[in-house]
Symmetry: D2
Subunit: 363 residues, 4 copies
């Protein structure tokens, strides 16, 4: 359990880090979508290891293969299965940890829960499973693009280096221009240098990915438990290494007064559209989108794998030393940007579809 997500646009993922393949079956994708395989591959390439010297040097081709649900270039409305074969597995890299519990990894909890575990590269707990998220998210993006919804994520913090510019003043088209995926070129350079230092220390560091969603129609999100931001929060928190989620004014909004925080509703003099003067609500009110841009922040911890010796236990409960080996990311946020976008796309499309069922007059 745990590997299914979504209610209408529903994905079921599978695969271990060093198993045969990782993949996803997408249920509930509408028929008639132009299936742009190149776009899906390009999203996977954004997530791929080995993009620069500050990401893991593992080489994985990560070529997407489509097994079903597409006919003559269009989705047919039936399940779409996609997978990526695991190439550069190097399982022997991990044989030395076959009975070790690495600190702050999922080794111990998986072992305790299941009674056994695929220890190679973290098995199912590895961030390699995000390949499936990015593939499914790319498909969701294809649909959302046709509906006018645009999702942009970017790195807004690495360690203590924080981007303080309001998102409206950023040029988000610059995000993909640097290896860090920070739209402020100067700060991006500082971040790069800092991550590279951390890498040389054999250490790791955390960061924040921010997301900004434009063109989302009014009405997405459901009352009570399935509020739009609640589901976005779950989606983000389910990504490996995420420790926090906030949207709109977030934790900073706590210290404000209602009279400062409330977003005054006005009518645009020209277009006649209803909008708000400020957007502390982050585009969501009462759990339902109000047409303003949606924005949120996702906090990632420093990844647990470091190239240093650490005390720990093995499966027998004996004291051991876990020594840092293998090839890992010193800072996960640059590669997390497409993953955040993918999960946001999956949530938004699911809610888009759920919202079609609401009014009698629309049936």
């Amino acid at each position: 359990m745990g590997s299914i997500y979504g209610k209408i646009f529903q994905i079921s993922t599978f695969g271990e880090s060093h198993g045969a393949a990782v993949g996803v079956v997408v249920q509930g994708c509408p028929s008639g979508i132009d299936f742009d395989l190149d776009f899906i591959q390009s999203e996977l390439d954004r997530r791929k290891p080995g993009q620069s010297r500050i990401t893991t040097q593992r080489k994985e081709a990560d070529s997407i293969e489509v097994l079903s649900g597409v006919f003559e270039g269009k989705t047919t409305g039936t399940p779409i299965a996609m997978l990526v074969w695991n190439g550069d597995q190097r399982s022997k890299d991990y044989s030395h940890i076959s009975d070790q519990f690495r600190p702050s990894h999922a080794d111990y909890t998986y072992f305790a829960k299941y009674g056994l575990r695929d220890y190679r590269g973290g098995g199912r707990s590895s961030a390699r499973e995000t390949v499936a998220r990015v593939a499914a998210g790319a498909l969701a993006k294809l649909v959302l693009n046709q509906l006018g919804v645009k999702i942009s994520a970017y790195v807004s913090q690495v360690g203590k280096l924080k981007l303080n510019t309001p998102v409206e003043q950023l040029d988000l088209s610059l995000t993909e221009n640097n290896a860090v995926r920070c739209p402020d070129p100067k700060l991006a350079e500082e971040m790069f240098t800092y991550i590279d230092e951390i890498r040389k220390q054999g250490d790791s560091v955390g960061g924040v990915v921010s997301a900004y969603i434009q063109g989302c129609p009014v009405g997405l999100g459901e009352p009570v438990f399935d509020k739009l931001h609640a589901e976005l929060g779950k989606a983000m928190l389910s990504i490996n290494a995420v420790k926090g989620f906030e949207y709109g004014s977030g934790f900073d909004g706590v210290a404000l007064k209602g009279s400062e925080h409330n977003d005054i509703i006005v009518k645009d003099a020209e277009t006649g559209e209803i909008k708000t003067l400020t957007n502390h609500s982050g585009g969501i009110q009462g759990g339902i989108s109000n047409g303003e841009p949606i924005y949120f922040r996702v906090g990632f911890k420093p990844v647990a794998t470091i190239m240093q010796d650490q005390d720990s236990l093995n499966e027998k409960g004996e004291k051991i030393t876990v020594s840092g080996k293998g090839r890992h990311d010193p800072c996960v946020v640059p590669r997390a940007v497409p993953i955040v976008e993918a999960m946001a796309a999956i949530v938004l499309l699911d809610f888009y579809l759920r919202n079609k069922l609401i009014q009698l007059s629309a049936l």
Copy 2:
């Protein structure tokens, strides 16, 4: 849609702020639980309005009534329906806003989504629906108590007044001793005074509720999407006015290095239990509980209802002035404490049940 929560211990809630009743049908509650109605009522009393002058002065008896699923004092394994009749409704208080969109409320989004809305007291979007959460959560607590799990929430911030003491050094038995529900008596007084000032200004202010869970067994939570903290995050974010969620080291952990953040695994010399020296993980690794205390923080915005005039629009799109009337909370966090506990209980019990199905040897 949106009013069902949980996979095994599954709740279906209903009710508008000024409708006949609010309530819940609980599916999947195990049979044989001693059904302690007094305890459930006492939890509702902690949530009830009118507890002090810093909470809304609405008078609601909020007496719980049980319609099914209990026989001779024990749960029977069949659905348990519970409801609270809405007493002090004063619907006329709201007639003046029948076509108004109050700023940062859900009036506009509900109207746009559904084409009509129950405007009385916010209808379904009112925090009155949390009555159902607290009732279901109290039932979950009854089960968890028998399983040794203890959930404690408390107010850790009001506006800029922040409790910085680590939770291990707090005496959480003091939480219920003051109207603010802050376990630090001195800070609680400051917070009370501050909220009272805000109240006199006709304004509102935000705050933070922290939660601390002891006795949670190893193994709760599912890989990938249904990580324990992801579901806790969704549960908390679904509570009215919540803007952020973080667990363990949270957003502060972002700035740490892996070598600082990793929790070293050790064996307790006396008990032989596996534990960690630090707990930046917040009791959850790879989405699965590791037996350490679980802790998290939930950020609440200042509530949107204030006793001041604000510009806005009505349903026709005409400019209006929304004037502050009615009886509302200047700061929502004191009454949110039992709600946070309730949602945590619902999530934990659901995952407890899901975890029973994992190993062949346990079947």
Copy 3:
């Protein structure tokens, strides 16, 4: 578990035969439906005991009460809670069976499954829970009516007395004219006499309810597991005392050849509509409605409660005699007619809503 049904139009039911109330929370009902309480009550009246001397003589007012989700006569899109208070409970009628396992009842299986049970009138296993189905089904009918879908059920067999007239030659408006709910007045009389004899013998007898659905649009039903007839089958089989379900040609179709069974597709010369010359398919092909009338048969066993002494065991495993007492139906099918219609309505509306999400061009 087990008391939730539907994916979009989703009902959650509760209540024991002799508990406080039976009821339902309906999630996912579209907003803007004219909520006709009288119609819902009239459907419950069709199911009510005591309608004639061939149904149980229990007196139950079965007045429906609506607690939420309706405002100014229209559904609001939020959960609709409805309940019926249990009036004429006479619990003492059942005290003598508190530890008895009645033959072919659910007494033993509930006790074994849950470790305890509400023995009064069968508790949750009583057909009294169908009150909730009929209420929710009536609501579904209100929506379907506006969409042009008409569901008619009728009694087509009692014991060996079988209605052989093809449905197209029946006048279904006659169904409600007699206590048996058989549209053939002459056969209805014979059936009435037969059931009355069975009643006098203190025995019971089975029967068949047939259903006929007109106006169902093309496209309802989902491929593979959620085929329209598969879900209709589950819905019918979930009704108390049902032993079999067949649609279209059913079990008789087994003996046909493909060349006899296939429904030739033609275009209506006048309307230009696509239809089939015969309808062995029962209006469903590949699990998806094709626009032809949908029809199916539901077989009910003789109810287990009879007014005769029977050998059995009690909870301790001791031999006992179960003596027939209480007030029960000698033949369940006349009162099952509205229940079959209700379940059909719930399934069809759910599939109607699910079908809105299919094509990109419809989003």
Copy 4:
């Protein structure tokens, strides 16, 4: 939607008849199961085309490939993805029907529902998708075997040739000895001859598959909607070409009196076990298994594909002649036997797991 089945042991299937592959992702399979790939392959071989001259002559190797969830020969508790590549596709066989609606096929309904369709061999509506069911069902059987549950299906009717021997008097070990899969060798021969005649006529004929389940523990099944037989019914009705389902006394039970039909409960003098003297209940009472053998019958129509010319329409609504080509089964029931077993296994394991959550004392 529609391709996901089960609540805990949950399968998500994919694949078209002439796409790249058909497969399944199984979620919720317990960890620690000995994964017997040979057994799974042997089940697929029972379903495979080309087993005798009365089944389709298509040649498909149908080799199962496992992509995830298994490590060192055991299930790990994570999703198990299995697939079969489509080999002998011969897509050109179908080019002539690319715009044709074949009578009593799903061509028209899929086209109407989705706006386009993969016409090759029926695409997703082809019975080829049952490969995924059999693979997942074989896995479920592996678990059930360890729990002592044995599922046996067999052909009990072909056309009008009907097996009337009660199941208790049959030697079910003979089922696999003949191409028809009828445990009565003499009748099997008659059936074979009859099917072969039908084949020579270019026609098809229907049949019935019966199932018999031994060793099912007391307590499987949930009250109200998820009754064990209701879910079994849905599972069977979801198989291609199925028109009816009955369990226990079935439609024949309709004509019985309660005094004849009730199963008297007794204690076995030797074992002390509670059992019933007769088993009209079919092993299920109140929707919950009572420990007696479960048995049911599944009616299959004659398959729609025949080797004869038939009138029909094309996508433009023009009159055409559909001519019989390709390679198909004159009678589907011999190959349906393993499919019925597979679906029964999936349902039973899912309910087995759901039943572990019931009593507090078991938590």
